[in-house]
């Protein structure tokens, strides 16, 4: 695929907004929201999503600048281009919000999620689980004679795929952090 072979409806490989203004097709976008780390900020951001009927597929938050008291909230959301545009503007106008980046629209980005996956099983199932974990570069962080806890990092899709494979092998529990994302390059 050449660099110019841009998928229709996508903006992630172009400096221009190629989305049709009136498209009714829902898109998934990853937003990075830089906020003042003060009490209630997360509640305000989440309240915006529930109050205005927007979706949250994933949300992570942590203070990333301890001296400047800045937190980074990464939100994966879904909506038509008009809704995504509104979400970005609604977030931007909040008093404790410093910046909003639509990582999906602004250019290529890396997205990673961490998952802990507990699998229970014996015999062949156990061996198969270990073998697949190796393929997925998952680490064993806890083990008993009947169970493993795997730790893996990757895109949400990779974690979904791993969890799907573990299901018949004795998946009992999964914990996921949600997506952390950064724009590629500088």
């Amino acid at each position: 695929m050449s660099a110019l072979n841009i998928k229709k409806g996508s903006t992630s490989h172009s400096a221009y907004d190629l989305r049709s203004a009136l498209s009714e097709i829902e898109e998934s976008h990853t937003l990075a929201v830089i906020v003042e780390n003060e009490p209630g900020v997360l509640a305000r951001v989440i309240g915006l999503f529930s109050g205005r009927g927007y979706n949250i597929d994933s949300l992570t938050v942590a203070e990333v600048d301890h001296t400047g008291h800045r937190s980074r909230i990464t939100i994966v959301t879904r909506g038509t281009p008009a809704v995504i545009d509104q979400i970005e503007k609604q977030l931007s106008r909040m008093v404790p919000v410093h910046a909003v980046h639509d990582l999906t629209a602004e250019g290529p980005s890396v997205q990673r999620e961490l998952a802990l996956v507990k699998v229970q099983g014996k015999g062949d199932h156990r061996i198969e689980a270990l073998r697949l974990a190796e393929i997925f570069r998952a680490n064993v962080v806890d083990s008993t004679l009947e169970s493993f806890v795997f730790e893996m990092t990757g895109t949400p899709e990779k974690i979904d795929a791993f969890a799907e494979l573990m299901r018949p092998l004795g998946l009992v529990e999964i914990a996921r952090t949600g997506v952390a994302a950064l724009a590629r390059g500088v």
Binding site: G47, D85, Q90
Partner: protein, 581 residues
């Protein structure tokens, strides 16, 4: 050199430093230290209300009529929850108010203490910003910041929750000029290139219209002045939302009246048929647009708004301009004049001819009566008898509100206070008191319906105590008029719970409060009765018994486009299945 003082003293000091002259409030356990400090000084006047909702609406009335932020002070728990309606009202209408709430001491927060409520949690969605201050050292800084946030960008309500121990503790006072006003510095300057595109549109427009809103008023008197210059020089027609009345004078020759659900025929048809729409500080509210897909289908639209999220929220526009109305209009005028002040004169001439034909429909005409007072007639007489006076009007919510907007003329901004976005019944009486406190010598009239008025009638006590000679002009149809109208037109004339039964005798009620009551039911007596109300030196409750089944027209059923307007009670148009919300 910073000064040490208690949190309670800090509150009063910070309010003084912010230029606050009046606080509307109600004391309670969690704010007693602040009330102590108020007691010990004479710079800030405290108006004791009868219910916290009243305090917030008074602060709103004060703010809308002065352009300065209004301040309310209430206690924790029920004091704070009672303020919620007022906060939401101010948020919807972009009114700058600062509400201070007491809170249980920090060590009790979370223990379900007496009169404890999660005030910042409850008010988060109905404030522009709120703060729980847990450290006295941060209190004065937070108050200064709160005033900054309330009055900058799109104005709105803010709330500061102050635990009682924070009020007692001592710390350094941060003066206003040293306060950290945060990074919150919304953009006020419009993009020059977008303004240039607007100017080009104006030069070639054949059927232009200015569609103005509350943003013009919020931007300050200079914005109205610039708007008037722009209208006079371009000769474009101008309409306004309910919130924007007065920014352009009702007597101005380019005025085509209010638009929207109960707006004028000519205004709505001009919006529908225009080729260039210039939205200045309005937000394409659903009461304005009707059915979105048929809204002004053939026009190029420009939108000037200080809040970027208002642009393209409901209606996609061609020329988005984020900025303060005053700054943007200055630049529009500068560029347009620099390019030779051009307009399409021929196009405009035929546009005005078309508008005059629409005007000739006389959409506000109604069938008058010699035996019953028609509400429209009552307002026509009120308008005629108070015209030219130093007059401020507030309203409640419902039919009377729409008739007031249709039949009263506003010549200047900040003279019209009504609950637009939230539609809060019970707003008008306290708002009128807030206006009167700010303008003690002016004639302040609350045009009310009897049902709305009863919702906050306890505030007559406040009006009496503080000698606020507000005139309560109640159009009494013994019905929840707008509800009744919809039931008649849309719900098979099933008048479910829309009668105002067991009404008080308003004249006796007035006497009970110690003010004047006037009752009028004959059109022949109306003028004298209105004059008696105006001349009386003190609050008046005017019980104007009007026709009980009058409907408010024109009306665009929601979900209908602008050109499908009802001018009379012909219900046939409704049967096509429009769903009103």
């Amino acid at each position: 050199m910073s000064k040490q003082m208690t949190g309670a003293k800090m509150v009063v000091q910070a309010l003084k430093d912010q230029g606050v002259e009046v606080v509307f409030g109600y004391p309670g356990g969690a704010v007693l230290p602040i009330y102590d400090e108020l007691f010990l000084q004479n710079d800030i006047r405290h108006i004791l209300v009868r219910h916290e909702q009243g305090a917030v609406h008074m602060a709103e009335g004060y703010a809308r009529s002065t352009g300065k932020p209004g301040v309310a002070l209430v206690t924790s728990g029920p004091g704070a929850t009672n303020a919620v309606t007022g906060l939401t009202d101010a948020l919807m209408d972009s009114i700058p108010i600062v509400v201070l709430t007491g809170q249980v001491p920090t060590f009790m927060i979370g223990t379900d203490g007496f009169q404890e409520a999660d005030t910042v949690g409850i008010t988060r969605p109905c404030t522009k910003m709120n703060w729980l201050v847990k450290d006295t050292a941060k209190l004065s800084d937070t108050i200064h910041q709160a005033f900054h946030v309330a009055t900058h960008g799109r104005p709105g309500p803010v709330l500061i929750d102050i635990p009682k121990d924070v009020q007692f503790a001592t710390a350094d006072y941060t003066p206003a000029e040293k306060a950290r006003v945060s990074h919150y510095q919304p953009r006020t300057e419009g993009d020059a290139d977008q303004i240039a595109r607007l100017v080009e549109l104006m030069e070639t427009a054949e059927r232009p219209i200015f569609y103005t809103g509350g943003g013009v008023i919020n931007s300050g008197p200079r914005a109205s002045q610039l708007l008037r210059e722009l209208v006079a020089e371009t000769n474009f027609p101008i309409t306004s939302t309910l919130m924007g009345l007065g920014s352009y004078p009702a007597s101005g020759k380019n005025w085509v009246g209010m638009l929207g659900m109960h707006g004028l025929y000519e205004a709505n048809l001009a919006m529908h048929g225009c080729d260039v729409m210039i939205n200045i500080g309005a937000r394409f509210d659903d009461r304005i647009t009707g059915r979105i897909k048929d809204f002004s289908p053939k026009s190029k639209k420009a939108h000037i708004d200080i809040d970027p999220s208002s642009i393209n929220k409901v209606i996609r526009v061609d020329v988005p301009i984020v900025g303060d109305v005053t700054r943007v209009l200055e630049e529009v005028l500068r560029q347009w004049r620099a390019r030779g002040s051009r307009t399409d004169q021929r196009g405009l001439a035929s546009w005005w001819k078309q508008i005059d034909e629409w005007r000739a429909v006389k959409c506000l005409s109604y069938k008058n009566s010699t035996t019953t007072i028609k509400p429209q007639y009552a307002l026509e007489r009120l308008e005629a008898l108070t015209k030219g006076m130093d007059r401020y009007i507030t309203t409640e919510v419902g039919q009377h509100q729409m008739w007031a907007a249709q039949f009263l003329g506003f010549e200047d901004p900040n003279r019209w206070m009504t609950s637009g976005g939230l539609g809060t019944m019970g707003y008008g009486l306290p708002a009128s008191i807030g206006v009167q406190i700010a303008h003690p010598d002016a004639l302040v009239i609350n045009v009310a319906g009897e049902a709305s008025w009863l919702m906050n009638m306890q505030e007559m006590g406040t009006a009496m105590q503080f000698r606020a000679p507000v005139k309560q002009f109640i159009l009494n149809n013994e019905r929840l008029g707008m509800v009744r109208q919809w039931q008649e037109l849309l719900h098979g004339e099933r008048y479910s719970s829309s009668w105002s039964e067991s009404l008080p005798d308003f004249v006796k009620l007035a006497e009970a409060f110690g003010c004047k009551g006037i009752k009028c039911e004959d059109p022949k007596d109306l003028d004298d009765a209105i004059m008696e109300m105006i001349r009386y030196d003190g609050p008046v409750i005017f019980d104007c018994l009007v026709e009980k089944h009058e409907n408010c027209f024109p009306m665009i059923p929601s979900g209908k486009p602008h050109n499908e307007m009802l001018l009379s009670a012909d219900a046939a148009a409704f049967r096509s299945g429009a769903v009103l919300v």
